[in-house]
Every structure is written in structure tokens, then in C-alpha cells.
Symmetry: C2
Subunit: 279 residues, 2 copies
């Protein structure tokens, strides 16, 4: 723009902040961009903050001091998150989803790029206050959820493979035993795709007993990485559980293959004990 | 918000439009949301359009008439796209990427969620004028690029698998022959993950002779779907080419395993013949 005014600044700042979530932008950077006084920029930011907060888009976090500035933290509200969880429950309860062996068909839901984006926003909200350096997931269906979350937290993604491919270079491989079927498997992560000492958020689509998530936690240890949290879209109500701390968006309480009935409830994100939503 | 003013409307409209790309929003919807006259809304939209256009965020497309409204088309500029292509060239030329067999290590680049988002924006720009109903890609590394594009075009993603899994339900499988190594393979797509008659944009990370892309085009035919276009992040300069029409962001001209040298150039998106950038 040749000449910025408050009206055009407000539009541009909204874009700049939402395109760079979690990045600290200094007031000077804005003042230079818009050729405006820092006091005007502060007033603009107050307007943005009011709208973001009231309409549930997220927060503007102000960091004071010489190295200070402002940071956009994308968030959603408990209401919107519950609405998404309820929609997911209804969609998952369709008997058409039952596949042989009691598996559930999920690919259509995970193919819905807007639904995926909404779920990513929920994880970005839940883990907004954690230090997260990277997202970890396992191929294939966890990948879209991982990227949707990573984009809003402004961090990279490390994709764990079930088979190690030549295109991954040197990898670290661990063995897993499936908690539900006692099947043996392995998980591999390319050496170069996760920095040692990272704080890692694990994101996946479906958790039964949790052996895959447990495997990813073990892989983190191999990289001297710390687990910042675990978020799964759907968990199956299981007797035996290999993971203690995790958040779930929905809980599949029952899959009755014979009666072709699926019962799905909201996950522990809404149970009150697991997570406290701020307003 | 209890009471909307122009300043708060501008911030909120920017969010509403960018969160729902390619969706037609009527002036009445905005007028209701903000309790404002349509003439005020039109003035607001003119301000948004000016900033979006001048700063290269995209376009506001106005549809007139009773069923009319406004639609946000996210776009990037040729300058920004070239900047991303050049950054990608430099990153790909690092000799560390050479893996046995002349493969290139790409996972770190595709793990960079911001880079992935930028590339998605390029495909959303290139195919903005096409009717696209769905994005198709193949597991694993094409998935992030497919979702980044799909989110900006507001369409779903269909993920093609190299092995068919029980969790996919009934699938359509075709056989492929790799153009480079003559290896046999197969590609499967779940019946439910693509509507018949869709117009499909194929997105992938790396194309050698093009047998995988060719396979996806054949799969489209099985679904009575039409190919709206093909976009690959990187293509290898190949003698034999199984696909005629595609766009590439960068071209890997040479991988010399012995000398450990990689030469990467900007792709056909910038060659002038393949694609015409609008300003």
C-alpha cells in the first residue's frame, strides 16, 4: 500500500497476525510497515484483541520490554469445540462405518479439510500454553490433523512411518506390540526429522489400547525429546490402556458389529477433570 | 460483539472471509451479522479488497444478483511464489540430501508446516480459476501439500494408498509400472472417498517419470472423475515422461551421486509457456 490508514492497517494486521501464529512481532516492525506511531499501532492492536477475544478467534498476547511485541495465539471456544465433537459423534455413529473386524471407516471425515482444520484449532487451543517445538504423528490418517495443529502453533511436523523407506535416510526404529490384537509392528522416524531435546506434541486420529501412541512416546525418548502432550481425535473405550495422559475429542463407547450399532460420546476434553477451558 | 463499528467489522470480516475461502457469502449474511446497512458492508468490502489485492493476499470476487455475494479467493503473487521456489532450490541442492540410489531426502522440507502452507497457496493460486471439487494425492509425503491446497480451495482430499488397508472399506485398485525402475506397484482408493463425476486436482511432492501421477489419473477415470490439473512440488528432469500436462514448482536437473552434486532449477510454473501469472 502506498499510504496506510487505520482502516487498511486493521485489515492488514489481521492478516499478518493470523498468517504467523505464535510468532512474536515487535511494535517497531508494525510501526515501520505502516509508517505509523507506536501509539497508533497499540490502539489498532486493542481493537484486534477485542474482536479476536469476543468472537473466539484467539488471543493477542502482549510481551512488554525491549524485546517485546505481540503474538497471535489462535484459539477456539469450548462451545465451538463441543459443537465439533458433537458433529463428529453423530457422523461416527452411522452404521455404514462398521468394517469387518469392528474397524471404523474414518477416511471421509479426515478427507474433510475444513473439519480437519477445526480439529487442529482445538489442539492448538488445548496446548496453547505448553511449550511445543514439534508435532509428531504416524502415517497415514494422523497426518492431516498433525499439520492442521502445527500450522496454528507455527512448528514443524515429524511423521513416524510403519515401514522404513529408503527415502527417509537413516532412521531410528522401535518395535511395538498392539495392545488389542497382540500383533507385532515397528515404528520408524528419520534421524533428521526431529531435533534432539524437542518438546513434542503427539497427535493421532484413533487410539485403541494406545500401543501406537506408546510407541511414539518411546521414540521420543530415543531422540531425547520430551512429550508435551497427546491429543487423539477418537479413542475406543478400552479395558487395558497403555497411555495415561491424553486428551480425546470423542470416545467410541461401543461398536456392535452384529447389531450394527456404534455409540460415540464426547471425549475427555469435556469431562471437566482432564482439561479446563478458559473463557 | 455487542455493538459493531467499522473498525471491528473490518477485523471480523477479514477473519470470516479468510476462514472460509472460496465460499460465497451474501451481503445479507454480513448485514445481519453486523446489524449494518448493505451499503456500509459494500464500503467495508472495498477496503478489504484494496488491501488483499495490493498486499497479495488474494482477491474478493463479487457475484451480483439476488443469489450474489462475495467470495475470498486466496492467492499469492508471482514474486512470492518465485521466492519460495528459489528457497526450495537452495535447500534441495544441499549434498546431504543424496540417499543411496540417487533418491533425495525431502522429509525435513515437508515437515516445515509454514513452507507447506506457502506451497499450498501457490497451487490454490494456479488453480483458482479451475472448478476443483477435490484434491487427490498419494500417501505419505504428498498429504501435507494436498491439505494445504484443499484448505485454501475449500474442498476435500482423497488419499490414494499404495497398499489397501482394511480400514478403507471397499476400494478400487489399479496396477502401475514405475517408469524409472520398471517396478510393479498398485494404487488404491476407497470407494467412499471420492464422489463420482468430481473434478480432481492431483497434488504430489516428487515426480520422476510420472507413473504415480499417471496412476492417479487412471484412478480418476475409474471414478468417472475428470482431472482438473496436476501440481508437483519437484520434478526430476526425465527422458521419458508419462504425463504431459502438469505444473512443477522446481525441477531437479541433475543428481550426481558420485560427485555428490545436485542441481535444482525453478520449475515450469515460471517458464512463461506453462502458466500465465496475473498481477
Amino acid at each position: 500500500m502506498k499510504k496506510w490508514k487505520r482502516s487498511t492497517r486493521l485489515v492488514d494486521m489481521t492478516q499478518q497476525l493470523t498468517l504467523q501464529p505464535h510468532r512474536l512481532i515487535s511494535l517497531s516492525e508494525f510501526a515501520n510497515r505502516y509508517q505509523a506511531a507506536k501509539s497508533s499501532i497499540s490502539e489498532d492492536l486493542a481493537i484486534l484483541h477485542e474482536v479476536f477475544h469476543q468472537e473466539g478467534y484467539g488471543w493477542l498476547e502482549t510481551v512488554s520490554g525491549a524485546a517485546g511485541g505481540v503474538r497471535f495465539i489462535p484459539k477456539t471456544t469450548r462451545e465451538k469445540a463441543e459443537e465439533i465433537a458433537e458433529r463428529l459423534c453423530r457422523q461416527l455413529e452411522s452404521p455404514d462405518r462398521i468394517l469387518p473386524g469392528g474397524y471404523l471407516y474414518l477416511s471421509d471425515l479426515l478427507g474433510d479439510s475444513l473439519m480437519v482444520r477445526d480439529i487442529g484449532r482445538i489442539w492448538a487451543t488445548v496446548f496453547a500454553e505448553e511449550r511445543v517445538d514439534a508435532i509428531m504423528t504416524v502415517e497415514t490418517k494422523g497426518i492431516p490433523l498433525a499439520y492442521a495443529t502445527a500450522g496454528l502453533l507455527g512448528v514443524p511436523v515429524a511423521i513416524v512411518r510403519r515401514d522404513s523407506r529408503i527415502t527417509e535416510g537413516s532412521v531410528v526404529t522401535i518395535n511395538t506390540v498392539s495392545g488389542s490384537s497382540r500383533r507385532l509392528g515397528s515404528l520408524s522416524l528419520s534421524r533428521r526429522s526431529l531435533k534432539e531435546g524437542s518438546r513434542v506434541l503427539i497427535v493421532d486420529d484413533f487410539m485403541k489400547a494406545g500401543s501406537t501412541v506408546r510407541g511414539m512416546m518411546d521414540l521420543c525418548r530415543e531422540f531425547q525429546a520430551e512429550v508435551a502432550g497427546v491429543g487423539v481425535m477418537a479413542e475406543l473405550l478400552a479395558q487395558e490402556r497403555l497411555v495415561d495422559q491424553y486428551y480425546s475429542l470423542v470416545t467410541v463407547a461401543e461398536v456392535d458389529e452384529r447389531e450394527r450399532r456404534i455409540q460415540v460420546l464426547k471425549g475427555n476434553l469435556f469431562s471437566g477433570e482432564a482439561f479446563t477451558w478458559k473463557s
